[in-house]
Subunit: 460 residues, 2 copies
Amino acid sequence: MASMEKKAIVVGAGLVGSLWAVMLGQRGYAVDLYERRPDVRKSGFAGGRSINLAMSVRGWRALEKIGMAEVIGRQAIPMHGRMMHDTRGELTFQPYGKKGQAIYSVSRGGLNLELLELADTHPDVHLHFDQRCQGVDLSANTLHFRHEHTGKPSRVRAPLLFGTDGAFSMVRDSIMKQTRRFNYSQQFLEYGYKELHIPPTAQGRHRMEPNALHIWPRGSFMLIALPNADGSFTCTLFLAYEGKESFARLHTDAEVTAFFERQFPDVLPLMPDLLEDFRQNPTADLVTIRCNPWHHDGKALLLGDASHAIVPFYGQGMNAGFEDCSLLDALVDEYAEDWSSIIPAFSRMRIPQADAIADLALRNFIEMRDKVADPDFLLRKKIAARLHEQYPEFLPLYSMVSFSHLPYDQALREGQAQDAFFERVLQLEGIEENWADNPEVNRLFEQWWAGRRDVLQEQA
Amino acid sequence: MASMEKKAIVVGAGLVGSLWAVMLGQRGYAVDLYERRPDVRKSGFAGGRSINLAMSVRGWRALEKIGMAEVIGRQAIPMHGRMMHDTRGELTFQPYGKKGQAIYSVSRGGLNLELLELADTHPDVHLHFDQRCQGVDLSANTLHFRHEHTGKPSRVRAPLLFGTDGAFSMVRDSIMKQTRRFNYSQQFLEYGYKELHIPPTAQGRHRMEPNALHIWPRGSFMLIALPNADGSFTCTLFLAYEGKESFARLHTDAEVTAFFERQFPDVLPLMPDLLEDFRQNPTADLVTIRCNPWHHDGKALLLGDASHAIVPFYGQGMNAGFEDCSLLDALVDEYAEDWSSIIPAFSRMRIPQADAIADLALRNFIEMRDKVADPDFLLRKKIAARLHEQYPEFLPLYSMVSFSHLPYDQALREGQAQDAFFERVLQLEGIEENWADNPEVNRLFEQWWAGRRDVLQEQA
């Protein structure tokens, strides 16, 4: 492939686009990175709609690849587990994994900024802001842009094109129209989300435990809070659009206050700007996007939300997008830069994995808003954690997703097998009391695990 | 609603669009019916890609409503069952329902022509051909068209808008872009289809049994043939795009001939134009399209393939589109022409039904290409037919779909319950021989049916 010009266009300079531009830049590619929005390094971020990132090992691995893990790690706040708040303000803590394991609260804006800065240090990576993609002519490898302020149109070409322009990707739209038998689906939840804010104390301290992801699970809806480095928390309310408890019933300040008094009394005193935030911040949608294939003719490829937007409930949206880049980068070596092989191979390999994390994320909404308050669920988590300590090979589903690099689809299948096992364990007599020392738990586990290992070996 | 102008625009003058224009015309609405293609009454049909229609009771009911059932009935050919051809040319006949019940082979082009003629008799229905819809501005109720030959643009408005412009609907595209939380999915099979042809004898007779739908089931692919009034058959080959037996392996005349000799030896002498047809007719795709909602703001509504394109294997695509019109027409009376209520109510009611027939159609591909050659499947069909005669209330799944007006989603649920019942029956000792007079079959049936009737009564 030495004959092909080492040149690429990346559309969308969000997290995945700027990371991928860095990876290409580090390989010596000339990259033109186009972004519809203004340069955040000058304009700052338009907040109010971004859930904080929960970075786990898949995200970290990509940052390690480009040498940025350390600088981001210094600003990140470890969250070792979920802190559940009931309606009386009582707290229950549930660790995510083993001692020392954590997911990390990272500012989306801050991370994006660092990635853009790093991209910009490469002399062959060129950043273009305020450029709205109008469409792609795939047969001619040509992209059309229009400047958001001047209206000036432009046309660019490159042998390689990457669409990292998010859930409502224009590049995907063009691929969909120009690719025969392109499978596509966009499915919205009947829920929206709204960002809220808990400021730091006057001393710049966190008003709640900082090393946890806080959840107020309320059955059909929930509030969550992730810590920021400045002592504040970014909170997100997930609530149905219509129905008895819904955004449709929260129009006036009095309605909002009454709702928080009833449902989240312990958080109300921590949110002095609740009413203003509630009025001013938009209510955003939750969408799952799937498509197949992710590419056109082995020369145009979609990455991140553009090909697999997922709901945020597993904290894996960014992690999955970053893993896209790590895996694709590994294929570039494996296929010695033969892009016409790399791109279809990546699409084939990655689609079932992306489908699996999309399903897991949808399922986790129910877990977070409802099951985390269920004694059976908490008991299962405790038994799983103990088995994980006794048998380190055994990874509970959450650990497979958040603390391992196991392909998501394999994690999903393992999780389903675990469901069947725990169903039997939870039926054991007196399990609520004797779970920690009932030898039957270990006997059942060893029997089940022996069979499971055989399946895993067959798959490998 | 007397204040609203009785005026509508219908985009797409295929089967559903022209039927719906007739129904609106009969209600005294002024209708502008736009169609991208030329007027078939002048240009004739561009064939080569349309599977013959298999009209069943849902389609007939709509034609009865507009007074056209008799004229179409005179040209339709009843097909009382499936005629299966094995690789040695041996035939097996399997009736679709009771004696006298049939689905009807109807020419798509002929039916479309009659519907257009009837629409044109209404002084307030205006037909516009060669007009390509460029988009819809839903806030202004405005549609943009461009004439296919002159290029002349035009802009029209109406208080009501119906999109009947097929699986790749431009109206749906506009609704999707202008409606928040619009769920959409397009899924292609990895199979294509190609139309072929068996001409009549020199005496104008059919070369095979005319009163049957012929199937050559071959496991992963199949050929079917439907009779035409002129003594010919329209045949369709359904085959994978890639793989061992696939269109990818049928490039040369020799490959096509060898394939037919191997797989369909009895049909080869009946197709003198096979090689020419195979070369000239396009290979078309098979897509399932689902969306939700089907409307925008209670004033723009999608009908037929535009909102629910399905694969052709249950012969229900046109029937479902025509049932859309019948059901919508009934709601117009029920809600006394209050369209802002009619349209959302129709969308809510009809989407689960359309989802069900989409699933049934996908499932029937496996049944037609594979299961119809399976002895267990044929045995089940025979037992079901006998029970249907003994207990007329009991309708096998095929009869619920093709010979009743039961909502498709209810038929799907009943079919699933029937699967469980027949699984037990097929395990009875010696059932292969004693199915017709084993009293245990009736005992099991009566027990199961008593429980089932309770469920049905609860649903009603």
